[in-house]
C-alpha cells in the first residue's frame, strides 16, 4: 500500500511539475452542501474563488434543507433517491462510518499522496478520518470543544490569578467565585451540552486511546474509568458548582453563555467555538479582552494535551465523476488562498497554510494549539445515533440523581444499549 502510494505520488508530482499548471481544468463538480449561515456563505465563497481561477469548471450545489434540526435527514433522502453528486460535506464521524460500510464513499488516499496534503494537514487530522488503512475525509474546518469560556474581569474580581491548569485548581476557584456571589459554573442540560463535560473529563482522565475504545465499544460503559468521570462530576455538583437541577435541564448553551459572558453572573461554561460568535456578534464584546477561554484543566497529567474538537470534512462519493477535479478543488481549499478565505470569516481551519494573523485573538489562541494537541473528535458524534440519544438522556438522569446507585444503573443501561447496537 505504502509503496503503491509513494510510486503514485512520484508520478503525480512529476505530472504536476510538468503539465498541470498549463493544463486548464474543465468539467462540472457537484457538491451536496447543507451548511447554512456563515459556513454556507464560506462554501459558496470557496466555490466562486475556485471557478474564478478555473474558468472551465462549473460547480453545482445541491442544497437539501436540514430537516427537523438534523441535516442527515436531507442527506439520506438525497442518497436514497439516487441523487448524483461528487463531494459531500460531513461533520459526523459515525455517519461517515455508515456511508463507508454501505460502500458509498471512496478513499482519498490517491489524491492525498499525489497532492501531498500531509504538508497541509497533520497526521492526527488525517487519522480522524482514517478507517482501516484508508482515509475517507479531508478536514478543512475545526473547532475547539475543550474551551471553558469566562470573563477575565469576573475571575480577576474574585482574586483568581492565571488560568486554572489542573482540575484541583479549577475546583479551588469555586469558593473564591462563590465568595464574590458568582455561581462558579453554568451548565445547560436541556439538549446535549452536558455531554461536553463527560467527554472532556474522560479525555483528560483516561486519554484518547481509552476514549476511542469506549466509542467503539471495545471498552465497557461499566468500566471504572467511566465511573470515575461520574465521580468527578459529582464532586462539582457537591461543591455547588451550578444551577439547581431543574434549571440546568431548562437551559441550553446560549442561556449559559448569557449568564457567564454577557451578565457575568456565573464563572465559566464549557462549549464549542460558537460561544465566540455569540459573544462577539450578539453581545458586541471584544474577544480576548471582554471574554476569553482557558483549556479544560488536566485531570491526569499524562493526558493533559488531549483536546476535544469538532470539524467538517469533505467526503468523496463512490460515484464521483471526476476524481481529479474533486481533488483539485480540495487542494484549493487547503491552499493558502483557500485557507485565507476561511480565515477571513474568522472560522478556524486546521490547514497549516493559514495566516493566523487574520483571526481574532480567541480563535488564534486555539488554532495555535492544534499543532501539538492530542486531538480527539467529540465523542457524542462518534457514537451510533441511538446510543448517543441514550448518552444524552443518561446525563440528564445523572443530574436529577447523582448518587452512586443511580450512576451504576446508568452505566448498566448504557452498556446494555451498546451491546445491542454495535
Amino acid at each position: 500500500m505504502k509503496f503503491v502510494n509513494s510510486v503514485l505520488s512520484g508520478v503525480a508530482v512529476a505530472a504536476l511539475a510538468t503539465g498541470a499548471w498549463a493544463e486548464e481544468l474543465k468539467g462540472e463538480l457537484t457538491i451536496l452542501n447543507w451548511l447554512g449561515g456563515t459556513e454556507g456563505e464560506l462554501i459558496i465563497a470557496l466555490e466562486e474563488a475556485f471557478m474564478a481561477q478555473n474558468p472551465g469548471v462549473t460547480i453545482k450545489d445541491i442544497n437539501p434543507s436540514a430537516g427537523g434540526g438534523d441535516a442527515r435527514a436531507g442527506i439520506r433522502s438525497a442518497l436514497l433517491s439516487g441523487e448524483r453528486f461528487d463531494l459531500l460535506l460531513n461533520t459526523w464521524p459515525s455517519f461517515e462510518k455508515e456511508l463507508i460500510d454501505a460502500g458509498l464513499l471512496q478513499s482519498w488516499d490517491g489524491q492525498w499522496e499525489a497532492r501531498n496534503w500531509s504538508a497541509s494537514l497533520g497526521d492526527s487530522w488525517r487519522n480522524l478520518a482514517t478507517y482501516g488503512d484508508e482515509t475517507y475525509g479531508v478536514y478543512f474546518l475545526a473547532g475547539n470543544r475543550s474551551g471553558l469560556w469566562y470573563r477575565p474581569e469576573t475571575f480577576a474580581a474574585a482574586g483568581i490569578e492565571g488560568e486554572p491548569q489542573t482540575w484541583d485548581d479549577y475546583l479551588s476557584t469555586f469558593a473564591k467565585l462563590q465568595a464574590n456571589d458568582i455561581q462558579p459554573v453554568s451548565i445547560g442540560a436541556r439538549s446535549w451540552a452536558t455531554t461536553e463535560w463527560f467527554e472532556n473529563l474522560i479525555l483528560k482522565s483516561a486519554g484518547t486511546d481509552y476514549t476511542a475504545r469506549l466509542a467503539n465499544h471495545e471498552a465497557k460503559w461499566t468500566d471504572p474509568e467511566v465511573t470515575a468521570v461520574f465521580d468527578l462530576m459529582r464532586d462539582m455538583i457537591e461543591a455547588n458548582c451550578c444551577e439547581a437541577t431543574e434549571k440546568m435541564l431548562a437551559m441550553h448553551w446560549p442561556d449559559t453563555a448569557d449568564a457567564v459572558l454577557r451578565d457575568g453572573t456565573a464563572g465559566s461554561m464549557l462549549i464549542g467555538a460558537w460561544a465566540n460568535q455569540r459573544a462577539a456578534g450578539e453581545y458586541g464584546q471584544k474577544p480576548g479582552d471582554d471574554y476569553s477561554f482557558f483549556q479544560f484543566p488536566a485531570v491526569n497529567d499524562e493526558h493533559a494535551k488531549t483536546m476535544s474538537i469538532d470539524g467538517k470534512n469533505w467526503l468523496l462519493m463512490d460515484g464521483a465523476q471526476d476524481v481529479e477535479l474533486a481533488g483539485a478543488f480540495i487542494d484549493f481549499v487547503l491552499s493558502e488562498e483557500g485557507s485565507n478565505i476561511i480565515a477571513n470569516l474568522n472560522i478556524a481551519t486546521p490547514s497549516a497554510n493559514v495566516d493566523a494573523s487574520k483571526y481574532d485573538p480567541v480563535v488564534a489562541k486555539y488554532v495555535s494549539m492544534y499543532k501539538d494537541a492530542d486531538v480527539f473528535f467529540v465523542m457524542d458524534d462518534l457514537l451510533p445515533a441511538e446510543l448517543s440519544g441514550l448518552f444524552r438522556t443518561s446525563l440528564q438522569k445523572f443530574l436529577q440523581d447523582p448518587s452512586a446507585e443511580n450512576v451504576a444503573e446508568i452505566q448498566a443501561a448504557l452498556e446494555a444499549k451498546a451491546n445491542e447496537v454495535y
Binding site: 454556507g40 433522502s77 448569557d258
Partner: protein, 275 residues
C-alpha cells in the same frame, strides 16, 4: 340590516381579555423584528435599551429571495387548495347521496387516513418523484397535499351535504337531471360554505408545511423552508427570522379576513334570504 336586539357588552370584554394572551407573543415577534438583535436577547419586553430599526426588514429582503419564496408559497398553497376545493365535493356527493358497492370501506379508508403521518410519505414518494423527474417541481408537493387533504375534506363537505334539503335533489331528479347535473347545478352552488372552509383550511395547512417541500424542492422553495435557511446553525438571526415569520403569517391572515365575509355570504345564500 337593522338590529332588533342590542348585543351585550360582556362578550366583547371576555374575548378582549382572552385575546390579550394571544396577542402577547405576536407583539413579541413584531418587537423582535424592529429592534437590533443584541437588545432583545434578554427578551423583547426588556427595555433597558430601546432602539427602533428597520435594519432586519431591509437585510432579509437583500439577503434572501423572499419574493420568489412568497410566490412559490402562493402557487403551492393556492393550487393545493384549488385541488381540494374541486375534488372534495365530488367525493362528498357520492358518499352523501349515492349508493354503490364498496361505499363504506372506501369511506372508512379515506377518512381514517387522517392518522397517517407525513413522515411515511417521504421515502416512497421521493423515489417515485425522482423516477418521473418531478423533484423540484411544485407538483411533487401539491399532489400529496391534495391527496392527504381528501381524508378530512371529503368528510367535512359530506357532513354538510347530509343536512342538505333532500327535496331540492329530489326535485332536480324529477326534472330529469342525472347525478352529475344535480351535483353540478344544484349541490355545488349551495355548498360554497364548506368548500370555502376546505379551501381556507387547506391553504393554512399547506402554507406552513415544512417537511415535504423541504425534501422535494430545491430551488422552488416556499417561505417556511426559506425560514429554516435564515436561521443559521450557530447564528440565530432572530430579528430576520421574525421578519420572515411576519411576512409568512400575513397572507393566511388576509385570506382569513376575506373568507370571514365569504362564510357569511354562503350562509345567507343557503337560507335563501338577504340578511
Amino acid at each position: 340590516m337593522n338590529d332588533i336586539y342590542k348585543p351585550p357588552l360582556w362578550p366583547m370584554l371576555l374575548i378582549g381579555v382572552v385575546s390579550l394572551i394571544w396577542v402577547l407573543p405576536l407583539i413579541g415577534i413584531i418587537m423582535t423584528s424592529i429592534r437590533p438583535e443584541g437588545e432583545t436577547l434578554k427578551g423583547w419586553w426588556n427595555i433597558e435599551e430601546f432602539t427602533l430599526t428597520l435594519e432586519a426588514w431591509r437585510e432579509v429582503w437583500v439577503n434572501y429571495p423572499l419574493w420568489d419564496a412568497l410566490w412559490n408559497s402562493i402557487k403551492i398553497a393556492g393550487l393545493s387548495s384549488l385541488g381540494s376545493i374541486l375534488l372534495a365535493p365530488m367525493g362528498a356527493y357520492a358518499f352523501a347521496f349515492l349508493n354503490f358497492p364498496g361505499k363504506k370501506v372506501t369511506f372508512l379508508l379515506l377518512v381514517n387516513a387522517f392518522v397517517i403521518p407525513n413522515q411515511i410519505l417521504i421515502i416512497p414518494l421521493f423515489t417515485l418523484w425522482r423516477n418521473v423527474g418531478l423533484i423540484d417541481n411544485i407538483f411533487s408537493v401539491i399532489i400529496p397535499f391534495v391527496a392527504l387533504s381528501m381524508a378530512w375534506a371529503v368528510f367535512l363537505v359530506r357532513n354538510y351535504l347530509v343536512d342538505f334539503p333532500r327535496s331540492l335533489i329530489d326535485a332536480a331528479h324529477i326534472d330529469g337531471c342525472g347525478h352529475v347535473r344535480t351535483f353540478w347545478s344544484v349541490v355545488l352552488p349551495n355548498a360554497l360554505t364548506p368548500m370555502a372552509a376546505v379551501g381556507i383550511l387547506q391553504f393554512m395547512w399547506t402554507w406552513n408545511s415544512l417537511m415535504l417541500p423541504m425534501l422535494f424542492l430545491r430551488e422552488n422553495i416556499p417561505l417556511p423552508v426559506l425560514l429554516t435557511k435564515i436561521k443559521g446553525t450557530y447564528e440565530p438571526n432572530w430579528d430576520q427570522v421574525a421578519v420572515a415569520t411576519i411576512i409568512t403569517s400575513v397572507i393566511p391572515l388576509l385570506i382569513f379576513l376575506y373568507f370571514q365575509k365569504y362564510f357569511a355570504a354562503g350562509a345567507s345564500n343557503q337560507s335563501g334570504q338577504k340578511g
